[in-house]
Symmetry: D2
């Protein structure tokens, strides 16, 4: 039983990029909206990392939730809903001999949390 | 600054039930779909508990992800997407002197993960 | 087959409030994060309304996504991720003779999209 | 203002695959868990298609929710939570002269809703 036959038409490098990208898109849309505070941020980061590392070809996920933005939560409930702007994420994928790092972080000049391939070799 | 004026038309007991119910609906729809395995289940349970406890009037959340269902994951990727059927959750809310426990778990005869008020006093 | 026995300990009015609240929490956490623009807002509003109306005891859901906020999307991608601040929602629940409207909208003085019981009778 | 500089290290073809993959991962994790029935499926399909088409480099999204699975909903509530197994999706991405179709559908022998590159040229 194998999924090999579905990936005949792309290169090893393309496969590694493909899997990293799926996982980054998944991460954003699964967890955005989650209530988060300074105190709960570590457990949320860890759960995001461990759950997304399960996906095919993913060997590491690093998530950093911006603590400065959490500190600024000045509503009386003292937490925020997680947004893409708070996230700095690195998803490491590997397929055969190719390793990639897909990155997402907020880029001021784009006013957008951009996802891109930070490393591939 | 306070939200008191928005809750004049309901009783103390109704408020406690209302807040517990919001949090249970939130929990289900935030986290269903998350990749999960035997190994990652503890960190996911903890993150769900800590994040949802932040919501108004919630003082405790207990989440148990069904390990038997995770063990049965017999696809080659060795993880599953979290579903409502795997979850047994207790959300404890308090408003003034009223405490509730809102529960969700899969009920065989209903074929449905039912949410209901397990305790209120 | 019925879920009646799980709701013996709450009143008819509490049941109607409970179901409205679950659905509002569900709505927020299911759809926050969805890409949305001026052009796609109508189909997203309709899908939210139709899907959440399926939940137990819900007979109507009205969703309005703030068009002014969408117009201000000045990044080069011309869309935003849906946030709670953009939403004005009314969930109508009915249980036996009791009708409720649970409302959510952003409240400036709270800096928070508050969920509350707008009507119950 | 442009994101070009972030994509110098990958080919045109890789960029098209990258963007298609992000959107497919996003789609799955945004919408899995949504209540859905035979009657509400069309509006949900349309909203998924229109919202995900907004993402960078995506020019078409086709979503089909399995009606047979919805018909089998034999709980008393007559709806289900959307799962990956119910979905057949094609995401079409374009970057410069390269077009791809990223596909997801449930594959019996893998017991898994596989995402793969169906077409690229």
């Amino acid at each position: 039983m194998s999924d090999q036959k579905y990936f005949q038409n792309i290169t090893t490098r393309e496969r590694a990029i493909f899997e990293g990208a799926i996982t980054m898109g998944a991460l954003f849309h699964q967890f955005v909206g989650t209530p988060v505070s300074i105190d709960s941020a570590p457990s949320l980061e860890k759960a995001i990392e461990e759950s997304l590392t399960l996906q095919p070809c993913i060997n590491n996920v690093q998530v950093s939730i911006n603590r400065e933005m959490l500190e600024k939560a000045d509503n009386e409930y003292e937490y925020l809903s997680l947004t893409g702007d708070m996230l700095d994420v690195r998803v490491s994928s590997q397929y055969q001999e190719v390793n990639t790092v897909v990155r997402m972080h907020y880029i001021e000049e784009l006013q957008y949390p951009l996802m891109y391939v930070e490393e591939v070799d």
